[in-house]
């Protein structure tokens, strides 16, 4: 029972971590508070749905299509819409406000397009919906895929950001964009790249999540907010933070559902989130700079 | 000679690092004392504990005989302590005058309105910034912001003024003006604790110096003597100044 709960909790947490990682990069490095993040996830989910349903392309292969598309999308959006805002903003706060407002608009545009193309119906399909035995607990293969992907992406990005010069440069842009050019970093390129990576991660998340979760054209906000909670709880810009916060939330939810009351899962999630923030105001892995 | 500030056995630890270690010294009313020490020796940390920004890990800080360690800055300020910061902290979205009025409005005088504006202008005059009263603080140069910060501190009409490297970055002429200004404050009877690396200023201003190294006090006494102390020379001044 305990192991089952533990494992299903981790698997659920994998989903949360997966959908949060792109956001933590976008917000942490490119400094864009992207409210249209969830819409990117949903768009990728629709893409996977179409690829699978119309052309029979396996969602795992679909990843190979969605991830580059996500990257290109992010690259273009940053160049067209966000770059001018970054250029004109005098302070971090004004950029934050501008990006909230602008991506709020973007959210509606993407959502509107999806509504026109796909309507407002619940969409879902079945893929890899088979049980896999993990230490005696049976979990769905598609969810396991999400967990695996979260760990691989999380670990990979972590190593990339901390162990490579290029990753360190991205972090430098995150902590002191004004100083980065002093060491030869092209801040615009780095931020644009980080934003695009964020979008491609969102796309990866969307594809995988669509294999087991029902979605609608208007459900993006739910993902954005969940991702934000995970990002903040983990500490902005911190990949390991997002990974662990996601897993913790998954565990909390599952344990509360199993041992307390399924009706309190979300309350418990938010309670834990709030408690973590009260204990560590800059998130689990965040270093407060105030 | 009354004692205005007394630190006894003050220690501050940041995680594993002990920034200030069992430090004790006291200031007599009206004294101008230099707090010296190599970079990272804990001077700013001491200032931060006196002003209430940090709570000491251990020890007692007494202001006019009353213990104040661990109180929040807004509780200590009205008791007559004002300061400047090593890295200026202007209020960028306020005007220069408003920056100074802030100290008037919430300090012990609690001035407001026309009266506050006039007082603010007066203090800006003291530091030579009166013409810029209406400008946004963020439009000032770094040095002017430092001036404004001093005006803000003066507006609180403190008994004890803490200056953290306020003279840094001034050229020789400006330095002279700055020193004159501080001397005029001394004449008014203000007690001043000043952290400074500019030895000319220390020599000109301070009758007495406290020297720290690695969080501990290594010397305390009349400036001339202290600056000749071999340990101070070794740890702080270097041979050039010896």
């Amino acid at each position: 029972m305990l192991t089952t709960t533990l494992i299903s909790g981790l698997v659920l947490g994998g989903t949360y971590a997966l959908i949060a990682m792109g956001l933590t990069i976008q917000y942490g490095i490119a400094r864009i508070m992207n409210l249209a993040y969830g819409e990117t996830i949903i768009a990728a989910a629709f893409l996977a749905y179409v690829l699978y349903g119309q052309w029979g392309i396996d969602p795992v292969l679909g990843l190979l299509i969605a991830v580059p598309i996500g990257f290109a999308f992010g690259h273009v959006i940053y160049g067209l819409m966000l770059r001018p805002l970054v250029l004109r903003s005098a302070s971090r706060e004004s950029l934050e406000i501008d990006s909230i407002l602008a991506t709020f608009g973007l959210l509606f545009v993407i959502q509107g397009v999806m509504l026109v193309v796909f309507g407002s119906n619940y969409t879902s399909y079945n893929y890899l919906n088979v049980g896999v035995d993990v230490f005696g607990a049976v979990v769905a293969a598609n969810r396991l895929l999400a967990l695996a992907l979260a760990i691989v992406i999380g670990g990979g990005l972590y190593l990339l950001l901390t162990r490579t010069l290029w990753g360190t440069a991205l972090r430098a842009v995150a902590v002191a964009p004004k100083s980065a050019p002093l060491v030869g970093i092209d801040v615009n390129r780095a931020a644009r790249f980080a934003f695009a990576i964020g979008c491609s991660l969102a796309a990866a998340g969307g594809v995988v999540v669509s294999t087991y979760q029902t979605f609608t054209a208007t459900a993006g906000v739910v993902f954005t907010m969940k991702a934000l909670v995970v990002v903040i709880m983990g500490g902005v810009g911190n990949i390991l933070g997002a990974l662990s916060a996601g897993l913790i939330l998954g565990l909390v939810e599952t344990f509360v559902a199993s041992y307390l009351d399924p009706g309190l899962t979300l309350a418990a999630t938010y309670l834990i989130f709030l408690a973590v923030l009260l204990w560590r105001p800059a998130g689990l892995f965040g270093r407060s700079s105030r | 000679m009354t004692e205005i500030l007394a630190l006894s056995g003050i220690t501050k630890r940041f995680g594993g690092l002990t920034a200030v270690n069992e430090l004790s010294f006291s200031l007599a009313a009206g004294e101008v004392v230099g707090l010296l020490g190599p970079n990272g020796s804990g001077k700013t940390t001491v200032m931060n504990m006196i002003s209430g920004f940090f709570a000491p890990t251990q020890g007692v800080i007494a202001l006019k005989g009353e213990p104040i360690q661990g109180l929040a800055p807004h509780r200590i300020a009205p008791k007559g302590v004002a300061r400047t910061f090593q890295l200026v902290r202007a209020l960028p979205s306020l005007t220069v005058s408003e920056n100074v009025q802030t100290a008037l409005a919430f300090g012990k005088q609690r001035l407001w309105g026309e009266e506050a504006r006039e007082r603010a202008l007066h203090h800006l005059e003291e530091v030579g910034l009166a013409e810029r009263a209406g400008e946004k603080a963020s439009d000032l140069t770094y040095i002017d912001q430092k001036r404004m910060e001093l005006a803000r501190a003066l507006a609180a009409e403190p008994d004890l003024l803490l200056l953290d490297e306020w003279l840094a970055g001034l050229n020789p002429t400006e330095l002279r003006t700055g020193i004159d200004l501080i001397q005029s404050l001394e004449q008014r009877g203000m007690t001043i604790l000043l952290v400074e690396h500019v030895m000319d200023a220390i020599r000109a201003l301070c009758g007495r110096c406290v020297v720290m190294n690695a969080g501990r006090k290594i010397a305390d006494g009349p400036t001339d003597e202290v600056l000749r102390d071999p340990e101070v020379v070794r740890a702080y001044l270097g041979d050039d100044h010896a």
């Binding site: 360190t168 430098a172 902590v175 002191a176 050019p181 | 690092l17 190599p38 990272g40 890295l87």
Partner: protein
Amino acid sequence: MIMLEIGDLSLHYGQHLALDRISISVGKGETVVILGANGAGKSSLLKAIAGMTPADSGASIVFGGRRIHALPAHEVLEAGIALVPEGRGVFGDLTVEENLALGAYAKRARAHANENRAFVYELFPKLLERRRQYVNTMSGGEQQMVAIGRALMSKPELLMLDEPSLGLAPVVVGDLFRSLGRIRERGLALLIVEQNVKMSLSIADRGYLAEAGRITGEDTAANLMNDLAVQRAFLGSAA
């Protein structure tokens, strides 16, 4: 041989003219100081050269035979000019090690990262001791070392320093200028803005006097050092 040649450099902040048709030059391996009152525009000049603040059009900045005016900052660095700015500009949330590693981010420097790092650690042994520390928990002097070390890591041919001795203990200032002397010996050109007139002139070859956005004088360091009248006239007038 002239390495950096600036002509007619003007710079406006909105309406305010901060630099007025500045022309200066720095020779290969030469150490040049700029002296001037607060607000004279010294920092603005360094920032304009570094590409951190866009100068007005019409200026000419030639470095090593190449026109670098209007290049973005990261490309100026790539061309071989490094700046240690006012306020240091270190990456506070990164460690000393990471700051130095990033110093060698420029393509021109990557291959030489190890040898440059060795030099920096030799120059500032304290940094080696503290290499895992987050820079924003270090004292002002320590941070200044990080900033200079980081700039050296980019293997510059010209190193520009904006008030490097600001806020440093006398013993460190002494060390700093000795270090700058050693850097100079390696053949780097230095362009230094300083209030510490004596110290900076002692290591310099030449000096400029700046006043209210203009260059008002130029002489060898030895002459400036001796001519106290000039010194007082130029350094005192603006205050």
